[in-house]
């Protein structure tokens, strides 16, 4: 894992200009970037709580918030926040007080921790892990524990039902979520979110959603499952106001209640950002000339130095990624206020009888697709997966070279010489001599 590749930049700058020691400069840079992530983490709920109320109002043919902060009620979220801070922090006598207090923090921390591996740009990622997607899905699955504990520890039957529904729903929906997230990974040949996004540059025809029919369907399945995994309507059985009062958060009030919602909106943003990285080109605009220009600008700082133009390109890329994610979040809000809520048995049947078989079939299909293309074009055209962008842009092998083909299967991202060199290094490190 490369820890904080961009923080190294700022750390170098701080060390050189301010005369700090290496460790302190590193910590300062980490704090700066941590606060940037917190800003995104807090900004998303603040915008979307207002956005959701406004959109809900418009869908239901009313005005939505209009008073606080001008005609459009821009400051509604701030007003909500102030109201929530002022509220009394209640712990019901029947509750297990320690767990009751801890649960909202677990939800909040779990959704915030996913930002650690979520890339916002070519080098703008806190931890550029080789298994970024896997870590992200893993951390997202922690959120459910906080909600179940909240439901159980409240000591109320509504909360208990909400928590149990949430447990059953999440354990089931994690399976199709993981399978659908693996589908673009099979195409890209990498779990690294940065690499996956990089190989979709150069026009929207390179986006993985347009790679083959299976990824096209997989995007919609993923989006459905992701909506369910954020427990958004029509899958919000855990809170189901009409049946369970408030579900798992029936007994919560004030700031602890709002932590659940910060976690929920942040999780919505994260799954939508992952959807746009996996399927919709990430921070690539989809317009070939613009992509080429941005890549050129990014290339200026390829040696790790600080270049204003490269910084600008990354900032534009981050804007593109966030807008794509916000469009998807908008669709989630739209769906919530349009569709009626499912029953719990319908939710489970949707997952176990339909979504899991569909995603398994898509997974098999996306594996078989390159073979089909290979067969139909007589071996002239292949789209066998390779994790590096340079392999991606020239998939056609005009004269099939047997050696090159097989070597691609062994370790796809390097030439045979590289592999030997890496292996030699490893053996030196391991100290094993044969």
């Amino acid at each position: 894992m490369n820890f904080l590749p961009i923080a190294t930049n700022i750390a170098d700058y701080l060390r050189d200009s301010l005369g700090l020691t290496n460790g302190i400069a590193m910590v300062l840079a980490a704090i700066i970037h941590g606060s940037l992530l917190v800003a995104i983490f807090m900004g998303t709920p603040v915008f979307w709580i207002w956005g959701e109320r406004k959109i809900a109002g418009r869908i239901q043919d009313r005005m939505g918030p209009t008073r606080v902060g001008g005609r459009f009620g821009w400051l509604q979220s701030i007003a909500d926040g102030i109201k929530l801070i002022q509220k009394e922090d209640l712990v019901p006598p029947a509750a297990d007080s320690m767990l009751f207090r801890m649960a909202p923090y677990m939800v909040c921390v779990a959704s915030f921790a996913t930002f650690m591996v979520l890339p916002f740009g070519d080098t703008w990622v806190a931890v550029a892990s080789d298994i970024g997607l896997y870590v992200l899905v893993a951390i997202l699955s922690l959120e459910v524990i906080g909600i179940i504990l909240a439901g159980y520890s409240s000591g109320s039957k509504w909360s208990l039902f909400g928590g149990m529904r949430e447990a059953a729903q999440m354990v089931s929906y994690e399976i199709p979520l993981a399978i659908c997230a693996i589908i673009p990974v099979t195409v890209a040949g990498s779990l690294n979110l940065v690499e996956i996004a990089q190989l979709q540059s150069g026009g929207f025809q390179n986006w993985l959603i347009f790679n083959d029919p299976f990824t096209l369907v997989a995007f919609f399945v993923y989006f459905t499952v992701a909506t369910a995994s954020c427990k958004r309507a029509p899958f919000d059985l855990a809170e189901a106001e009409s049946e369970l009062v408030g579900g798992f958060h029936t007994e919560y009030s004030g700031m602890r209640w709002s932590f659940f919602f910060m976690g929920e909106y942040a999780a919505m943003f994260v799954v939508c950002a992952v959807a746009s990285i996996l399927f919709l080109g990430g921070w690539n605009s989809g317009i070939p000339p613009l992509d080429a220009t941005l890549n050129q600008m990014r290339g200026l700082s390829a040696d790790g130095s600080f270049e204003p133009m490269a910084y600008l390109a990354n900032a534009i890329g981050m804007g593109i990624l966030i807008s794509k994610a916000w469009v998807l979040v908008f669709v989630q809000v739209w769906v919530r206020w349009t569709l009626p809520r499912l029953r719990i048995d319908q939710v489970m049947i949707t997952c176990l009888k339909y979504l899991i078989p569909i995603s398994c079939a898509l997974f098999l299909g996306v594996i078989a697709w390159p073979l089909l293309v290979y067969k139909m074009t007589g071996g002239a055209q292949t789209s066998f997966a390779s994790p590096k962008a340079e392999n991606w842009v020239k998939p056609a092998v005009s004269t099939p070279d047997e050696d090159a083909e097989t070597s691609q299967f062994i370790l796809p991202n390097s030439t045979p010489d590289d592999r030997m060199a890496v292996a030699d290094d490893d053996r030196k490190v391991a100290g094993g001599t044969r």
Partner: protein
């Protein structure tokens, strides 16, 4: 104090503290919470050991899967609002005594071995002294590709660059397949066992 040491201390303390919490907690839901703390910090230790795939697997399977299942089980078997089956203090003291003795026994064994000189049998049956550190591609813990290859029965981490006469190292394809079948059997068996057939009457 280096940052690595500090991180290790944080993770190690919360791992051990969580484990002790599991032992000392009386309510079963709190035990589950402490188990989450312990297993989650263990994942942190794995990250520090440059085993990032194992760490992520620990989070997704243990914390995200097994523990959710356990808490689900706690809710389903809750007879009161908070299940509270007390352990008698005598048993606890006895357990603590035996546990401490076991801990000192294990620590004594660990201390008695000179790990720097420890010889490790390789797959070829020859003894290779362990000098320095183990498998460590670029020190970054990018272990997913070699791990995937090993589960498919290939060992590029061992065989590449090795002399021809050493032959090929064995991978883990067969255990992997057995585990797959095992999981299927477990899935069927668990759902058969847990089928609702409530025989006991509430007035037992």
């Amino acid at each position: 104090m280096t940052y690595e040491k500090l991180l290790f201390l944080i993770f190690a303390l919360s791992t051990c503290g969580g484990a002790l919490g599991v032992v000392l907690a009386q309510r079963v839901a709190r035990m589950a919470f402490w188990l989450i703390v312990s297993l989650g910090s263990t994942a942190g230790l794995y990250f520090m050991l440059h085993a990032d795939f194992v760490a992520a697997t620990q989070i997704i399977i243990y914390v995200g899967g097994t523990l959710v299942l356990l808490i689900f089980g706690i809710m389903l078997t809750a007879s009161g609002p908070h299940v509270n089956i007390q352990t008698s203090p005598g048993e606890l003291v006895l357990g603590a005594g035996v546990g401490l003795m076991l801990l000192f026994l294990i620590q004594g064994t660990v201390r008695s071995v000179d790990w720097n000189q420890a010889a490790v049998v390789t797959s070829q049956g020859e003894f290779v002294p362990a000098e320095g550190q183990g498998y460590n591609p670029q020190g970054q813990g990018n272990t997913i590709r070699p791990l995937g290859m090993a589960l498919l029965g290939l060992r590029p981490d061992k065989d590449l660059g090795a002399p021809e006469e050493a032959g090929l190292s064995s991978g883990y394809l067969f255990p992997f397949e057995i585990v797959s079948i095992h999981l299927l059997v477990v899935l069927v068996g668990a759902s058969y066992l847990a089928r609702a057939k409530r025989r006991a009457q509430a007035s037992e």
